[in-house]
């Protein structure tokens, strides 16, 4: 018994000394950031050469019906249901694409790789993917390119040379600007905020946090960054973590960022149940359906997200264009059905557009 008390004390003192040694951890990655201008000046896209890969000896698929598999990070969450619906919509519209979605039941790099490997063997014409890890997925995607399969990513990128094109839902710095500006508008320039994310190893979330940090330092320097907590993709854990943040910081905490479509509604629920609606703002990435009750009760003012149905839809059109040979390296735009022309950025990425900010006025127009 003395041992456990001793080790508990030891562990605590060890950990507190650790925490004094470093500043608040943020969950950001260490890649370079590129914050946007503080006003609404759009970023000038830097011209870049095409850096994607090309399939080897791909057969002529122009106009022919192609078999496509969509492998998202995981199946069974609302977000990827929506992208999958967009792909199915586009396929139905084109009539020359036979698309199906199959993904791992956990966001696990190995399961995703195995699945893609199986589909290469089964002989598909095209692969759409959202990577759990940009580097880990690269070898199997290169194998697909080498087998003459058209490869297009969406939502979460791989290393550029492992796929032909990547449909970028919104640039990281664009999301960061939308999030931080929304938060600043709600809690003021000197408010303090905390972040609930999935895990620190999730590439997109780490990237957004890094860009948010850079943008906040540049444009809202007086806002106070309290800390970032992990909550997996678990809504009860997200709820408990948000509550702990509320309890820990008391009145100091003015806002919570939810970095995933799981964390944001859970954080909103924590604020609602704590009776702090109006005094703690919740801003986050989330799908509108899950957020409707909190937006309706005025507890959440703004939800940031692109339209994932459009994202899947655009990805399907880009794949079709790549297979037809109408989208080739050096192109500056691609036609994506009802979305019109989308522009090519960063060499081999296609930009869906600026993120949408859902508010009470428009959230009921969306159903995903």
């Amino acid at each position: 018994m003395r041992n456990v008390v001793f080790s508990a004390l030891l562990a605590l003192s060890f950990s507190t000394s650790l925490s004094h040694a470093q500043s608040a951890w943020t969950g950001a990655d260490d890649l370079p950031t590129n914050p946007l201008a503080c006003d609404a000046t759009p970023a000038t896209p830097a011209a870049a050469d095409y850096d994607g890969g090309q399939p080897t000896n791909a057969p002529d698929r122009k106009g022919k019906t192609i078999k496509v598999v969509d492998v998202p990070k995981l199946v069974g969450i609302g977000y990827f249901n929506a992208t999958s619906k967009g792909i199915a919509d586009a396929a139905a519209e084109m009539g020359t694409m036979d698309a199906k979605t199959d993904g791992p039941s956990k966001a696990n790099i190995d399961d995703q790789i195995t699945l893609i490997d199986n589909y290469i063997t089964s002989g598909v014409d095209g692969i759409l993917f959202a990577a759990n890890d940009p580097v880990a997925i690269a070898p199997v995607l290169k194998k697909a390119l080498a087998a003459g399969i058209n490869v297009v990513g969406y939502d979460a990128n791989s290393t550029p040379d492992a796929r032909q094109w990547f449909v970028n839902q919104a640039e990281f710095n664009g999301i960061a600007k939308a999030m931080v500006d929304s938060m600043a508008a709600e809690i003021g320039e000197d408010g303090a905020f905390a972040i609930v994310t999935s895990t620190f190893t999730t590439p997109n979330q780490a990237r957004w946090i890094a860009e948010m940090q850079a943008y906040q330092a540049k444009c809202h320097p007086d806002m106070k960054w309290l800390e970032t907590v992990e909550a997996q993709e678990d809504n009860i854990l997200s709820f408990n973590q948000s509550n702990t943040l509320i309890n820990k910081y008391g009145d100091e905490l003015k806002g919570i960022f939810g970095m995933t479509s799981v964390a944001t509604p859970a954080a909103a629920d924590a604020v609602t149940q704590a009776g702090k609606c109006g005094s703690i703002a919740v801003v986050g990435l989330a799908t509108p359906n899950a957020m409707k009750p909190y937006v309706a009760s005025d507890c959440v003012k703004s939800v940031v997200l692109w339209n994932p149905v459009d994202l899947g839809y655009a990805a399907a059109y880009v794949l079709r264009a790549a297979a037809d040979g109408t989208l080739t390296p050096g192109a500056t735009s691609v036609s994506a059905g009802k979305l019109g022309d989308l522009s090519v950025i960063n060499g081999s990425e296609i930009l869906l557009g600026a993120p949408t900010i859902f508010t009470k006025d428009n959230i009921n127009d969306f159903d995903f």
Binding site: D30, D117, S122, D133, T201
Partner: protein, 315 residues
């Protein structure tokens, strides 16, 4: 008697594997090709190495749930030793394997010296080792390994995936040890009756310590192969792999209560699972359907084997 029933389970399982291979090859003409089958060998090596060591551990009546975390820890250390500590990659990998082996040894010490039941001990170290991996990595990945390193995980030797050679070698060596050495018989004896083994002068504690150390070693070798296959390190690598390995082992006929089990059985179990995953996917079944079917096969295979065995002993 025990041996005969054991062979019966494996024969039954091998028969099942043949049937499954046949049925799946009817579903898709791309399934039963040399290229595809060799490729599946590449994908199952990490689980296979861990399952071989796990067979020994379970045959003594123990279990090791921390293997996935040891894999994660060794994977992270491979990258950190190489990039941050500046060691040449072979030394970095060897160092990571050494630490992983040490982690297994620590499990063994907790289990044998402090007499903590294996399930509890490795549940605790499952959290601890994964935590260390996360803490050391600071959520950073190490990438950009030299091209020669991918020979291990992404290239072939003599037309067969490199890591499959390692798996085959490990399986052969492990089968010989378990079946033909006194040490192997000690494993079964400890699993059948630990107290009696101790009284009859067998080195129970030493055997167990060696097995958990070997389990850590297998997990960290798997880690290096995994890093080479996916060309990056992440602290969440290998999470959940313990359940995959245990599934292969028990499907292969190793008794979870100890005293029974063979490497051949484990390998057949492993191949059966991999064949189902791959073949069903090629036949157009989605991932969620596949995992349901694997669950059902696991229960039904052990059920059928139990029924045969009992009808056998009664006559």
């Amino acid at each position: 008697m025990a041996l005969r029933s054991l062979i019966r389970h494996e024969t039954f399982l091998a028969l099942l594997l043949v049937i499954v291979l046949f049925v799946l090859s009817q579903q898709s003409d791309r399934f039963f090709t040399v290229g595809n089958l060799l490729n599946q060998g590449r994908l199952m090596t990490e689980v296979g190495l861990i399952a071989i060591a796990m067979t020994f551990v379970i045959a003594t009546g123990g279990i090791d749930l921390s293997v996935g975390s040891i894999l994660g820890l060794s994977a992270i250390l491979t990258g950190v030793f190489w990039q941050n500590a500046g060691l040449p990659l072979p030394f970095a990998a060897a160092g990571a394997i050494a630490v992983g082996t040490l982690a297994g040894f620590a499990n063994g010490v907790i289990i044998t010296r402090f007499r903590v039941p294996p399930l509890i001990a490795t549940l605790a170290t499952l959290a601890l080792y994964r935590g260390l991996a996360e803490g050391i990595s600071q959520a950073r990945s190490v990438r950009g390994y030299p091209e020669w390193f991918y020979l291990l995980g992404q290239r072939d030797v003599l037309g067969v995936p490199t890591q499959l050679w390692i798996l085959i070698l490990a399986a052969v060596v492990a089968s010989i040890i378990l079946a033909y050495t006194t040490w192997g018989r000690t494993v079964y004896a400890v699993g059948s009756n630990e107290v009696a083994s101790r009284f009859s002068g067998l080195a129970v504690e030493k055997t167990k310590l060696a097995l958990y150390t070997a389990s850590g070693f297998a997990a960290s070798v798997a880690a290096v192969i995994f890093v080479s296959r996916v060309s990056t390190t992440r602290s969440d690598m290998g999470s959940g792999i313990e359940l995959d390995a245990i599934t292969a082992v028990v499907l292969g006929g190793t008794s979870i209560f100890g005293g029974r089990g063979t490497i051949v059985g484990t390998m057949i179990g492993l191949c059966l699972i991999q064949a189902l995953k791959n073949g069903l996917s090629l036949a157009g079944v989605k991932g969620d359907g596949t995992i349901m079917l694997i669950g059902a096969v696991l229960i039904l295979a052990i059920l059928a084997s139990n029924l045969f065995e009992r009808s056998g002993t009664r006559t």
